[in-house]
């Protein structure tokens, strides 16, 4: 197992006490695998990604649990060690390509800077490798682009460069947090293809965070569904999308306009997204769930294997299985 998160919880401390944004998250990624986390805003999917590299702010506290990367617990090692790991072993790509690059440093220099960090090469060689890295993410005229500043490039180009930066080492694991959300659909497709290709070529594992079911279905082998800072369902992408077990996953898929009949109303999920500051005692989805009973509101369900390699955290689902 390349990465193993076990029972990780994260709290944010603010002016008025603390809010639990992640609750007992466990997941694992094996070598060469693409794992997807899908969820809406407030589900904790981005926090999960940031917690791995310990990039959460000072107001965040990661309590209990462990994050094992190649066997070492990332939560226990010293700051220096995690800094050495960032980019070298685990790369990360963020949502906003427009602001993710150093605005006053040339592209080639930015890449060379990172390459120098991770590989024992001379300045000159680093620059050559930087140009090569641009070529690897399918940028035409890499020499020309290397001599440009970020503001001279389009969003799609910048996201390619951000990916090139993250892949500079190259790392064993690439975390991509909504890598295509800010891009046009047509560009999105190209970026997703690029990620898939890099995964193939280098055998790099990928953790992809998204709100878009389409991205999940196109890219991921396995999928986790998050709601309210918890994992509510996990399994193979096929299983989760075609045979969803958790009422939330089902409802989410039904709410998509993609396949809906325009003559019928969409099956919307009633209510609003859970407010993390008022975490209920029972299942966090119970308030919006169409099949929740009294028991669901007072008792919290655990993630159980309902089908082989397919887990869900739902009292009803378990009963269904038992019946």
């Amino acid at each position: 197992m390349l990465l193993e998160m076990k029972d990780v919880s994260v709290e944010f401390t603010g002016m008025r006490g603390s809010v639990q944004v992640l609750k007992n998250i466990s997941l694992n990624i094996s070598k060469g695998e693409i794992l997807g986390i899908v969820g809406e805003s407030g589900s904790g999917k981005s926090v999960t990604a940031l917690s791995i590299l310990r990039l959460l702010g000072n107001n965040a506290k990661t309590s209990n649990g462990e994050i094992l990367f190649n066997g070492t617990d990332l939560l226990k090692i010293r700051t220096k060690e995690i800094q050495a790991l960032r980019g070298k072993k685990i790369g990360m790509v963020f949502q906003e390509p427009m602001t993710a690059l150093h605005p006053t440093m040339k592209i080639g220099r930015q890449l060379a800077e990172v390459i120098e960090r991770h590989r024992a090469v001379s300045k000159k060689a680093a620059f050559r490798l930087a140009v090569q890295a641009l070529k690897d993410v399918h940028i035409h005229d890499p020499e020309l682009v290397a001599a440009k500043y970020p503001f001279e490039l389009s969003g799609g180009m910048r996201q390619r460069i951000v990916i090139a930066l993250a892949m500079a080492a190259p790392p064993d694991l690439l975390i991509a947090d909504e890598p295509t959300t800010a891009l046009d659909v047509t560009i999105q497709a190209e970026i997703l293809n690029l990620i898939k290709e890099l995964n193939n070529k280098n055998d790099t594992s990928v953790l992809i965070i998204t709100h878009d079911m389409g991205v999940i279905s196109q890219l991921c082998q396995r999928t986790l569904v998050m709601y309210g800072g918890e994992i509510v369902e996990s399994g193979s992408t096929n299983g989760v999308l075609k045979n969803p077990k958790h009422p939330y996953t089902k409802a989410l898929l039904n709410a998509l306009p993609d396949l809906a009949d325009p003559a019928q109303p969409l099956q919307a999920i009633p209510g609003e997204i859970m407010d993390l500051r008022h975490r209920p005692n029972g299942c966090s989805f119970a308030a919006r769930c169409s099949i929740a009973g009294e028991y669901c509101r007072t008792h919290q369900p655990a993630l159980v294997e309902i089908l082989p390699q397919h887990y869900t955290a739902c009292w009803k689902g378990e009963k269904e299985q038992n019946d």
């Binding site: 047509t186 306009p257 809906a260 999920i269 919006r288």
Partner: protein, 307 residues
């Protein structure tokens, strides 16, 4: 109901002139929902803004019910409140310092006092709030106390207070989560039926367009490259850009779908070339001349040489 004739909008940045919208024709019938789809910078929002009075057309004519909206660069409201807009970002479309009640009633300030009194009655306000899914006691709260979906409901209630006939929906659900998006889309559909509204629906999301619209116009670099009934466009796209757009839509259940990609910019170009020339995978020499519109089927036209 709406007639857009040869409309052009040119933005100047320094010495550069960019046509955000060029030579666009579009007419919208009473009661239909017309979708405008395209990527960022395609001019779809600019077109919407010219209908609502936020941008002045550089050239051309826009008429509402046969009467020109723009006369000598001045926006004429035949009757204020007939055309209303709902914007994308409910975060910034509500004044953070106003109470919900005042926000919803604000458009009435443009009406004459008789109409204002009539439409601003408390029962009407409460009815509208309930209709869009808000509670009566939300009236005295401030926008920051609401979630994104609720704010969009407030924005919709505000647009409805003047009893408009035509609404410009500019990416109304793009900032919302999927589960909330479905609620808002349903609401918009119901309202349309109830009040016999006409919509122009601007979005970059093809599946939302498919679900919401009767007709759709695909825009690229300021030009409508293809327009027709939703069914026809989705099943039988003619323009290469529309095809790429449809093929890049990540689909949930189809495993293998043939993907068409953009082409890289050619060395040769011309001022009068087709708008899609730079990226078209099928381009040929003839494309250096701007193509005319040609019919594909009933009501379905596109602008490409190569079909």
């Amino acid at each position: 109901m709406i007639d857009i004739h040869q409309v052009r909008k040119t933005f100047k940045t320094g010495a550069m002139k960019i046509d955000a919208v060029k030579d666009t024709n579009l007419s919208i019938q009473q009661g239909e929902t017309v979708g405008l789809v395209g990527e960022s910078g395609s001019g779809k929002s600019t077109l919407g803004k010219m209908l609502s009075g936020l941008e002045t057309p550089t050239d051309g004519m826009i008429a509402y019910k046969g009467i020109e909206l723009w006369k000598k660069k001045k926006f004429k409201r035949l009757r204020p409140g007939e055309i209303q807009t709902v914007f994308q970002d409910p975060q910034s479309s509500l004044d953070p310092r106003m109470r919900v009640k005042d926000i919803i009633l604000e458009p009435l300030l443009a009406l004459n006092s008789k109409e204002r009194k009539e439409k601003g009655k408390m029962e009407r306000l409460i009815y509208l709030m309930k209709r869009v899914g808000l509670k009566e006691d939300h009236m005295n709260r401030y926008p920051h106390e609401f979630s994104g979906g609720q704010r969009q409901r407030i924005a919709i209630a505000r647009a409805l207070i003047t009893d408009p006939q035509f609404m410009i929906l500019d990416e109304p659900t793009s900032a919302l989560d999927i589960s909330v998006q479905a609620q808002v889309l349903n609401l918009l559909k119901e309202l349309k039926r109830e009040k016999n509204l006409t919509y122009i629906f601007i979005s970059h999301n093809m599946s939302v367009i498919r679900y919401m619209c009767d007709r759709v116009a695909v825009m690229y670099k300021g030009k409508i490259v293809e327009i027709g009934p939703v069914q026809s466009i989705f099943q039988n796209p003619k323009h290469p850009y529309t095809k790429i757009l449809l093929s890049s839509l990540p689909s949930l259940f189809e495993e293998t779908k043939e993907k068409i990609n953009f082409s890289h910019p050619p060395s040769l170009s011309s001022e009068s070339a087709c708008v899609f020339y730079q990226k078209c995978p099928l381009r040929q020499e003839i494309c250096l001349k701007e193509p005319c519109y040609q019919p594909a089927s009933e009501n379905h036209t596109f602008s490409c040489h190569l079909q």
